[in-house]
């Protein structure tokens, strides 16, 4: 059942048409990603769903609410992390959590929230003394204070190191298990791929693709990359006997093979290596990514 419906949403800022009539539905309990380069219209779209921005045209429903009306009941059930969240500098971390909690009817245990977001040790620190990553974790934590039914996270892992990013993914996945619906924007394709049930790829205010990340990649029908190393150099032509190979490169004993169908190629590599008693090192098969999907659809790389 769709919990969020967006139909023909349009928004312009002066001369710039930021969102050009997009439509999608988000299922209850889904992690839905809106991905795309900077300036694609991601933030505008999510802010219209939060009720923070007024749409120019279209129909938007979140639960039973029209976000634009800004009803209290609506604000009670949603949790929002803004892309650039300012929090009172002179408050301590726990004071900020407690203050924002106190604005809601339903709340969650602040101590536990601090723990989930690895902020327990920082709770007595002033917000202004936090590092970029810590500040970001706090601003996401503030989206959870009311144990919301629907979470809107606008680039939740920006400015985080890879470890913190993975921790954040775990928190978001866990919230899905607790029955929350999550809408997030990101320009990290890897994040969308790992985390989202479905993604809408948005570019220049239009949705250019919408599906499960794996489906998008599958539909791309892209070449897969086989990489390996050999101690001795052998003629790459040996591997080309398999007809499925699109392209082969060799540089200082490192081989890269592009193919649509890796299985026969792998067999061939193994056969050649056994026959010549060569030690195969660092063999891996790399799938296409959402980045490749974006390049395929737009003809340019994500910025």
């Amino acid at each position: 059942m769709a919990i969020i419906t967006v139909e023909n949403l349009k928004k312009r800022y002066g001369e710039v048409e930021a969102v050009k009539g997009i439509s999608f539905g988000i299922e209850d309990g889904e992690i839905f990603g809106i991905v795309g380069p900077n300036g694609a219209g991601k933030t505008t779209t999510i802010e219209v769903m939060e009720g923070f921005r007024k749409k120019d045209e279209g129909y938007v429903r979140v639960g039973e609410f029209d976000p634009e009306e800004g009803k209290k009941e609506f604000k009670e059930i949603m949790g929002v992390q803004l892309q650039k969240t300012a929090i009172f500098h002179a408050l301590k971390v726990e004071e900020a959590i407690n203050f924002f909690s106190s604005l809601y009817k339903k709340t969650t245990n602040p101590e536990k929230l601090l723990e989930i977001f690895s902020l327990t040790e920082k709770k007595k620190q002033y917000v202004k003394s936090l590092s970029g990553g810590e500040h970001q974790r706090l601003s996401v934590a503030l989206a959870f204070v009311n144990d919301p039914k629907i979470l809107f996270l606008d680039e939740p892992t920006t400015g985080m190191d890879p470890n913190a990013r993975r921790d954040m993914w775990a928190v978001i996945e866990d919230s899905q298990k607790k029955g929350k619906t999550v809408v997030l924007t990101t320009h990290y394709m890897e994040e969308a791929e790992v985390l989202c049930d479905r993604v809408a790829i948005i570019d220049k205010g239009e949705i250019i693709a919408l599906d499960k990340p794996r489906e998008l990649i599958r539909k791309l029908d892209a070449d897969r990359k086989i990489e390996f190393k050999l101690e001795e150099r052998i003629d790459p032509e040996l591997f080309l006997k398999s007809e499925k190979v699109e392209k082969i490169e060799e540089r200082n004993g490192e081989y890269i093979i592009l193919t649509k169908n890796p299985q026969p190629v792998l067999s061939r590599i193994l056969a050649v290596c056994s026959k010549k008693s060569l030690e195969l090192k660092g063999l891996r098969v790399i799938d296409a990514t959402l980045d490749d999907v974006f390049v395929h659809l737009t003809g340019r790389k994500m910025e």
């Binding site: 939060e50 803004l82 650039k84 300012a86 009172f88 203050f99 604005l103 009817k105 503030l142």
Partner: protein, 243 residues
């Protein structure tokens, strides 16, 4: 109402964590009180002149820098935007902030009065109730000027600039630093339009000459007029969302 009180509380806490604000609102006036007290404290009625000046300057500077600039900062940095996402209306937050600043200034007025009472002598010839009424209306009137600053400035920097532009001439013409009667005629005329000047004048005349509110209708209408006009304009011009 409970949330309103919570906002006022947290804003008061935030206020006391700003060292510069605490210094100028609370410590500096106290320093001036003792400085001037040690020089002219023996003069009869001296504190009936000094206290209204100190209190009005505290109220005015707090309105400009503690209300106008702070609101501009909150809007520009996105704090009001963040508040607006919660079930608490951003307007309620703003009123909570105003309440906190109002109470801080009233507290400081009472505090200065008590200190002066303990170390020197303070005479209130007129009605004490009238004095309190004027104090309340005057402080509200000053705060409404802060609202104008927030309403007209697009950025925090602009709000500081506007505050500086307002603070210097208005406090100069208030009679707080130099007596109005030694100024040239046209400046005296200008002073007559200043709410700060009338706020001080009414309090002084109640304390020194024992005048009643009825005799101060002109000055009171300037102060109340400023309050109404500024409150109305700032409600109209202040946008919760920045550009």
């Amino acid at each position: 109402m409970k949330k309103f009180a919570k906002v006022a509380l947290i804003e008061t806490k935030l206020f006391f964590r700003q060292k510069i604000a605490v210094f100028f609102t609370l410590l500096f006036p106290l320093f001036l009180l003792f400085l001037f007290g040690s020089i002219w404290g023996k003069e009869p009625n001296y504190f009936s002149y000094l206290l209204p000046m100190l209190v009005s300057i505290v109220a005015f500077s707090n309105a400009l820098y503690g209300v106008g600039a702070v609101l501009s900062f909150y809007r520009e940095s996105g704090i009001l935007k963040r508040i607006g996402i919660t079930p608490l209306p951003a307007r309620t937050y703003i009123y909570g902030l105003l309440a906190s600043r109002f109470l801080i200034v009233i507290f400081q007025a009472v505090f200065l009065f008590i200190v002066a009472l303990i170390f020197y002598t303070v005479k209130v010839k007129g009605s004490f109730a009238a004095l309190v009424i004027v104090l309340v209306i005057g402080v509200l009137s000053m705060i409404s000027i802060g609202g104008i600053v927030a309403g007209f400035s697009k950025t925090y920097e602009a709000s500081i600039a506007i505050s500086n532009v307002l603070f210097t001439p208005l406090s100069f013409l208030s009679g707080a630093f130099i007596p109005i009667f030694i100024l040239p005629k046209f400046l005296q005329t200008l002073a007559n339009g200043s709410p700060l000047y009338h706020f001080i004048k009414v309090m002084q005349e109640i304390m020194v000459q024992g005048k009643g509110l009825r005799e101060e209708l002109v000055s009171l209408s300037v102060v109340v007029g400023c309050l109404l006009v500024c409150a109305l304009i700032s409600a109209k011009t202040f946008k919760l969302k920045g550009e």
